[in-house]
């Protein structure tokens, strides 16, 4: 059997009556970047915790490198959690040295990458967010993992810093690591070889961004007064979004939008949906998006 970095077979996890992950199949192959998209409460973080062996499935099966999750398998994983998992009161070098020691790596794994050298003497808590993220990446990659798991790795950084973090991810994949990454930023879907969209615990779509968007279309309104058109569409209960002076209405055909506008001067046309708009359709049609507390 080929040794895939991560596999989930119909994996389910319930907390009481709440099913956080519901019969999800997932596969991360070597050298592949898989993007996991979903609203809060869709089950992404629970699925990651299952894959890391931090939670046991209620049903189904997880395999890491062809085996059930174990300490041994976990040594081959690099993980960057949402909170980055760095010690705020240690410098990047101290964080790296500590992590290298935990993973049983030699001092070469604790070598500070060039972009972090100017911050040698600063504790992590005092570094800019983009630099903290670079440090977390360096730590996760230091033991040359075969599976890299990144939970919202680029949140809050500028576009150039974001491009550089993706460069690091792509380099790890090119070196043969499988990568599983969650993001809330649909533009980053273009960095992934494959996407899996989760909603209400289920995997509701998979494929490339283009495959998932397919031929979904939305209505576009160009009105003399966008504010007036916005008010009319809102009063009709339609899901309207503002893009500059243009309004976009997903899931509603142009003639229905035209009717809702009444006598307001406006042109209504149809346009291909973006991945984000397709994502909303999938998420909203699957019901609730927030987990109960």
């Amino acid at each position: 059997m080929t040794e895939l970095p991560a596999q989930a077979f119909a994996v389910t996890r319930a907390f009481g009556h709440f099913v956080a992950v519901d019969q999800v199949d997932l596969e991360v192959r070597p050298g592949e970047v898989v993007g996991l998209l979903g609203a809060n409460g869709a089950g992404k973080t629970t699925l990651i915790r299952l894959l890391l062996g931090l939670l046991r499935p209620s049903g189904g099966e997880i395999r890491l490198f062809g085996e059930p999750p174990s300490r041994h398998a976990r040594r081959r994983i690099g993980y960057v959690p949402q909170g980055l998992g760095l010690y705020d009161d240690l410098t990047p070098a101290e964080n790296l040295a500590f992590s290298a020691a935990v993973f049983g790596e030699g001092p070469e794994a604790a070598a500070l990458p060039a972009p972090l050298r100017p911050y040698r003497g600063t504790v992590v808590g005092a570094l800019p967010l983009g630099v903290q993220r670079t440090a977390a990446f360096a730590e996760a990659l230091a033991h040359r993992p075969d599976l890299l798991v990144l939970d919202e790795p680029t949140s809050g950084v500028d576009p150039l810093a974001r491009a550089r973090l993706w460069e690091t991810v792509a380099a790890a994949a090119a070196a043969g690591a499988g990568v599983l990454v969650t993001t809330h930023y649909m533009d980053e879907a273009g960095e992934c070889d494959r996407l899996v969209i989760m909603a209400a615990g289920r995997a509701v779509a998979r494929g490339t961004a283009r495959e998932i968007t397919g031929d979904t279309r939305i209505s576009v309104v160009e009105a003399e007064s966008w504010a007036a058109a916005f008010g009319a569409l809102e009063a009709a209960g339609l899901p309207v979004t503002l893009v500059g002076r243009t309004l976009r209405v997903p899931g509603v055909p142009p003639d229905a939008v035209r009717r809702a506008l009444g006598n307001l001067p406006a042109t209504v046309t149809s346009a291909p949906a973006t991945l984000e708009e397709r994502f909303f359709e999938l998420t909203l049609s699957s019901g609730k998006t927030e987990a109960p507390s």
Binding site: A161, A163, G190
Partner: protein, 291 residues
């Protein structure tokens, strides 16, 4: 100098004129001109330390500039949400809103009417008794925005309302923002998402306290110096320093705008990346390490 109410009802604008802010020896804002107009959404973009929060705090009246002038409405006609939502974690959703309504002198009945619909649309109507500290990040941000607009301010200042928020909550937040602008409010928001900036009417690009660009997204793109090409591999040598990864390929910036073959039409994300890159390259000599 700060001049509350300076723009008055003359159909004017809010913003900054030649504003400088210093923190110790650091120039956090360096002669910043910025204009936010009623009924329009302005996005302030930039990375860490760009000065976005400092600019927003000036607009909100929370910080006085060292020099220059801030044009802002009277405090009761300004709405401000600080980064991290600014809600009281130990108060419930309803208590947070009641407190804000009192602070902004909105009569309770009026506040109730205004927020009822916004809460329902933002999916917060069934969590009115929940402590704000127990809300998800997206819900807390939505509460923060509703609290900041409860008094229908002339100027609504939102510091990173959507950072780290999931796409569904982000869409709800944008609905709230559009709703405020549709009602005539000038909305200023800081964001690190360029697709959001592209949706705004006006964009201000800040880096290290300096304005790198301002205008509509189209104007900022049109003002991008040089040209961009796309390649499958990072170019070798000096050109590699002017390249960055996007959507699995490499964008290469040519400041001289040379060979027209293979040149692509940039978008706002490209133009902002070029602006940050150009500044970085001017600070780092070839072969050197970053400051």
């Amino acid at each position: 100098m700060t001049a509350p109410g300076a723009a008055g009802s003359a159909g004017g604008w809010w913003g900054t004129e030649d504003v400088c802010v210093r923190f110790g020896g650091t120039l956090a804002l360096d002669h910043v001109w910025f204009r936010a107009e009623p009924g329009r959404v302005s996005a302030v973009v930039g990375g860490d330390g760009a000065g976005r929060t400092t600019l927003l705090r000036c607009l909100a009246g929370a910080l006085a500039p060292a020099s220059g002038r801030v044009r802002r409405p009277a405090p009761l006609a300004t709405g401000y949400m600080s980064a991290g939502s600014g809600v009281y974690p130990d108060l419930s959703v309803n208590e947070n809103l009641a407190f804000r309504a009192t602070a902004y002198r909105v009569p309770p009945q009026q506040a109730h009417e205004r927020t009822g619909e916004l809460l329902a649309r933002a999916g917060l109507d069934r969590v009115g008794d929940r402590l704000a500290g127990q809300l998800s990040g997206g819900m807390r941000q939505k509460l923060g925005v509703i609290a900041a607009m409860i008094h229908r301010p002339d100027l609504l200042v939102l510091d990173e309302p959507t950072t780290g928020v999931d796409p569904v909550s982000r869409s709800d937040l944008w609905w709230l923002i559009a709703r405020a602008a549709a009602g005539g409010t000038a909305v200023v928001l800081a964001t690190s998402y360029l697709d959001e900036a592209e949706r705004a009417h006006d964009v201000l690009v800040l880096d290290a306290g300096t304005v790198l660009g301002s205008g509509t997204a189209e104007q900022i793109v049109a003002a991008m110096p040089g040209s961009l090409t796309v390649t499958g591999e990072r170019p070798a040598g000096e050109a590699g320093r002017r390249a960055w990864r996007r959507e699995g390929r490499w964008r290469v910036w040519d400041p001289a705008g040379g060979d027209p073959a293979g040149v692509i039409v940039p978008d706002l994300q490209d133009a902002v990346t070029v602006a940050i890159l150009a500044r970085e390259l001017s600070l780092v000599p070839a072969g050197g390490e970053p400051r």
